[in-house]
Symmetry: D2
Subunit: 136 residues, 4 copies
């Protein structure tokens, strides 16, 4: 299974080429990730406060195929990539909803970070379990 | 006296009208404020960590006169507006450096916030003193 | 009548004080304005391309009352303020949805800009009519 | 040779983990690229208007090693990666200036886009020549 969420391109997301600025796709992917966790009953806040972990990105790749424009509705799809004890990779695709065109794809790799000592730590098994169940 | 700093308009600051997005002028003003404090030997970080205060904005106004465009160098000027015990107003003007055209003006009002109890508190007198000396 | 839309605070919207950066409320207001036009059958794009006008902001004010935090759902409410031939003011309020607390309020004033000569022009009567019907 | 430019981390660049948001490094890299072109006498604007080309990114990768924080001064270094007729890759590294720590590295690949037909085209030889001379 995969996780999908729709995001509307805002005016502020565009640049003077009249297309979405390349850095903003990384915002869209993170928004999808936030919605995935929310759908599973987690938030970054709860991860920070209860689990004392954060899940920053250690790697992010995006290949741009076609531009998104103001007002487009984008469908962000998250797939489960490789998973380790401390890291997990989400592969993603972003399509324009109206015609299904693939706009970009890539991945982000997250790592569990112990906020007490700022060192890598195990991803919380219940979060991991729920993500795996949702995406596998 | 006033405080002046130059800021270059980045591509990402523009929108599909090929001008700077209106929200980004508030980033420029804050960057100028950061440079003012830096020039006086303060940082937001030191205010947070040593003084246990933050200085969030309680009011922000901007009147837009003419658009800035990609590559423009902007001169942000800060003036001292009203000051109270807990709040201070910075009036600002942003001009295009090349021809001196006024692009926007307005103000931001900051408040001292005690980070222990998240209540308004007195602005640190040494910060205030240095700002007043620099801007008055 | 008023126009209301809900917006979720994203991680990227927060700053190191763990609250929403003051400039981002101006993004939320614009997103609400975009949703208002969409609900009336208009888009900035169509205004640009068919009407050859843009509607940039000439003034923006925000008074900050309480901070929004990551994951908060915000309700942005738009009210009709003063309207002229070429300008229109939207008053706004942003409340936290969960407890109804007022987080900020203010206004933005838009102007109709003829994209052929970049001069102020009359707001399109059909847009204006629909906005007035929706908000009055 | 390489190209280097310094960038100060702004408050707005940070997120609620009190570190720079991962998407903002892509802004820093682009700012460095803008400064590179400026140093060679080019701007995105001139590329758009005179050459009728744009140079959007077709791929972007960043590996995050250590976080940048508010007030840090970052040194962005650009290296010449692979170059083709229509594309060019910039490898980058971002170090914290004060202690030289490597914060992230990666690459961006740009493509020349003919703005008349929105198809890939040859990179302007004079731009390419100057970049190669500056970075090789």
């Amino acid at each position: 299974m995969v996780f999908r969420t729709d995001i509307t391109v805002r005016w502020v997301d565009t640049d003077a080429l009249r297309v979405v600025h390349y850095s903003n796709y990384f915002r869209y992917i993170e928004a999808a990730e936030e919605e995935l966790y929310r759908s599973l009953g987690f938030t970054f806040k709860r991860l920070n406060e209860e689990y004392k972990i954060a899940i920053p990105r250690v790697e992010a790749l995006c290949k741009y195929k076609a531009p998104a424009r103001f007002g487009d509705i984008l469908t962000v799809t998250l797939f489960l990539g490789e998973k380790g004890e401390k890291t997990m990779r989400y592969d993603f695709e972003i399509h324009r909803k109206s015609d299904g065109e693939l706009l970009c794809n890539g991945y982000i790799t997250i790592i569990a970070l112990n906020l007490t000592n700022w060192k890598a730590t195990e991803l919380p098994p219940d979060l991991m379990g729920k993500v795996v169940t949702a995406l596998e």
